[in-house]
């Protein structure tokens, strides 16, 4: 269970999240929708510990672990994964090397045995086939020269290999055409399980046709202002976010 209670987060001196409360039980997929500037990406960064995103008040816990007390790598080892809206390019580090280094770092942190190079290659071959990714691409530096769609697939591939338990997807559909979107969504859906919780952050309803949420929340002005079933996403698509925007003073 992801439990966020009265979370306040500032970037610099600017308060962005202002008392956000949200529970996502394991086994469920929750969508967080909202207008631009509502604090959607801030929520993802705050849960994963990005420097500069300071939690000034409130709590966030995953399976009982106080996330705000952990550094980003410790959170990752607890199973927290953020699929970035704009995945970062890492020149000079081949994608394969990067993912294996990350996987083994997590395993070390959990006191598990590391994965050998041959065993890892076998896992990658299987996972990359499912995402219809060219294996040779994985020998190139991570995300360098990848198209927008390739970068998003690379995120999902890492997700499949790292097997996180709390998956946060930040605008995963942006930059994807309909075929790529289907492949990416299939990859995400394959990871649905009773132990996993997913938070799908999105501006548009489109992604939710492919990754069906159990609950939909509206994030506006730094708080969850409405929650409902999947039908809420359609309502937002039809009516927009206007009625949730703070009234002009």
């Amino acid at each position: 269970m992801l439990k966020i209670n009265n979370l306040h987060v500032s970037v610099g001196d600017k308060p962005i999240l202002k008392g956000l409360t949200l529970d996502v039980p394991a086994g469920e997929v929750h969508a967080v929708m909202g207008p631009n500037g509502a604090g959607k990406s801030t929520l993802g960064y705050a849960l994963t510990g990005r420097p500069g995103y300071e939690a000034t008040q409130g709590e966030a816990a995953w399976n009982g672990a106080d996330l705000l007390a952990l550094d980003p790598a410790e959170r990752a080892a607890k199973g927290v994964f953020l699929s970035f809206q704009y995945p970062i390019e890492i020149p000079g580090v081949p994608a394969l090397t990067f993912v294996r280094t990350a996987l083994n770092a997590q395993k070390r942190a959990r006191g598990e045995e590391e994965v050998s190079a041959p065993a890892f290659l076998k896992l990658v071959r299987a996972a990359s086939q499912k995402l219809r990714m060219d294996f040779d691409m994985l020998k190139r530096p991570l995300n360098v020269g990848f198209s927008g769609g390739e970068k998003k697939r690379m995120e999902i591939l890492q997700m499949a290999l790292l097997e996180p338990s709390l998956l946060i997807l930040d605008e995963t559909d942006s930059g994807l055409d309909i075929d790529a979107l289907r492949i990416v969504a299939d990859g995400v859906n394959a990871l649905r399980s009773p132990e996993r919780a997913m938070v799908v952050i999105t501006h548009y309803q489109r992604l939710l046709d492919y990754i069906r949420p159990d609950r939909v929340h509206v994030l506006a002005g730094g708080r969850i202002v409405a929650s409902g079933g999947p039908e809420l996403a359609h309502e937002l698509e039809a009516e927009g976010y206007d009625k949730y925007l703070p009234q002009a003073a």
Binding site: G92, A102, A105
Partner: protein, 337 residues
């Protein structure tokens, strides 16, 4: 300014000499040091395992020959070993490659002891159509002073590729001067440095394009921590008539300590028309967003920093063609980050 002679203190340049502005030898060395005694050179040095012949100097004294002539395909380990405290020595070596030769010159500067002064002079002649790859590993005590000067002369159509990897010393300067005849000759002039503590390294080079249609590609990268200081002075001259020259120079450094320093002076001096020349110089820090991304995937901060730093520097190493030597330099540098 007369040539540096460590037995004559009047030849020691101070920072008032433009070419030594960032490496003030006189500040650290006021008087000529006592002359070192020769020592025997043992073991095979950091290039062990890559085979070849050996030319070695122990505290400046040649252990056998002081010159080598390469023909056909050859490997030469050139070792400058300093093993003394508080004394000074000069070594001089001459290397040449005959027409059509392919010489892999594996040079090492191996320092033990403390506070010594080493001066190495190297002359390299690359005959027309010959190819020399000079790879240099430099590891010396933090209180040593060393100056290495290489004069490289190329024939038409010759290829010369150089990569220096250095960890600095109290003052460590590696200077390369290349007379580039153009006429299809090709030069790669790379360097990489990783400095910590109060170490200082100075990579200085002059490539003088004297004829048309020559190529030079230069890439230097470094990382400085603590109070270390990295100096890069790269000069490429394109003389009148050296049309069709293609010269590129890049120097990029990471400053990972608040009191560390980089001094970079890239210079392109062009007297010819119709040339392609470019240079770039950047100094910065590790990319914060990349660091966060790597940590988000589970790499502890230290490991993420080390991996990014290594990747940054290895771009230079990856330009070495010879696979075995390239792997050796990667390993050597990786162990010193």
């Amino acid at each position: 300014m007369s040539a540096l002679n460590i037995r004559d203190s009047s030849t020691f340049p101070s920072r008032r000499v433009e070419a030594w502005k960032y490496s003030d030898l006189r500040r650290w060395l006021r008087e000529a040091p006592e002359v070192s005694s020769a020592v025997a050179v043992s073991g095979d040095g950091p290039w062990a395992g890559l085979g070849g012949d050996q030319l070695a100097f122990g505290n400046g004294a040649a252990a056998g020959a002081d010159a080598f002539v390469g023909s056909g395909e050859q490997v030469l380990r050139l070792r400058f070993v300093s093993e003394t405290s508080g004394t000074g020595h000069t070594a001089a070596a001459r290397i040449s490659a005959r027409p059509g030769a392919r010489l892999l010159l594996l040079e090492s500067h191996e320092g033990a002891g403390s506070g010594y002064v080493a001066h190495n002079r190297l002359e390299i002649d690359v005959a027309p159509g010959a190819e020399v790859t000079r790879l240099v590993l430099v590891e010396e005590p933090e209180d040593a002073i060393s100056v290495t000067e290489a004069e490289v002369r190329l024939g038409e159509g010759a290829r010369y590729a150089q990569t220096i990897a250095a960890t600095g010393a109290k003052l460590q300067r590696l200077e390369t001067r290349i007379v580039h005849p153009g006429q299809g000759a090709d030069v790669r002039m790379d360097g990489v440095y990783a400095l910590s503590g109060a170490r200082h390294v100075d990579l200085t080079s002059v490539v003088d394009h004297q004829g048309p249609d020559g190529r030079t590609s230069q890439l230097a990268k470094g990382v400085v921590r603590d109070t270390a200081r990295g100096v890069f002075q790269g000069k490429i001259v394109v003389q009148r008539g050296a049309d069709g020259t293609d010269a590129r120079m890049g120097h990029h450094a990471l400053i990972l300590g608040e009191r560390a320093e980089i001094d970079a002076k890239p210079e392109l001096i062009i007297y010819a028309d119709d040339v392609q020349c470019a240079h770039g110089n950047t100094v910065g820090n590790l990319d914060e967003s990349a660091l966060f991304y790597m940590q988000q995937r589970g790499l502890p901060a230290d490991e993420a920093r080390a991996l990014l730093t290594q990747a940054f520097l290895f771009e230079v190493i990856d330009r070495i063609d010879h696979e075995g030597a390239r792997e050796r330099v990667r390993e050597w540098l990786g162990d010193r980050l």
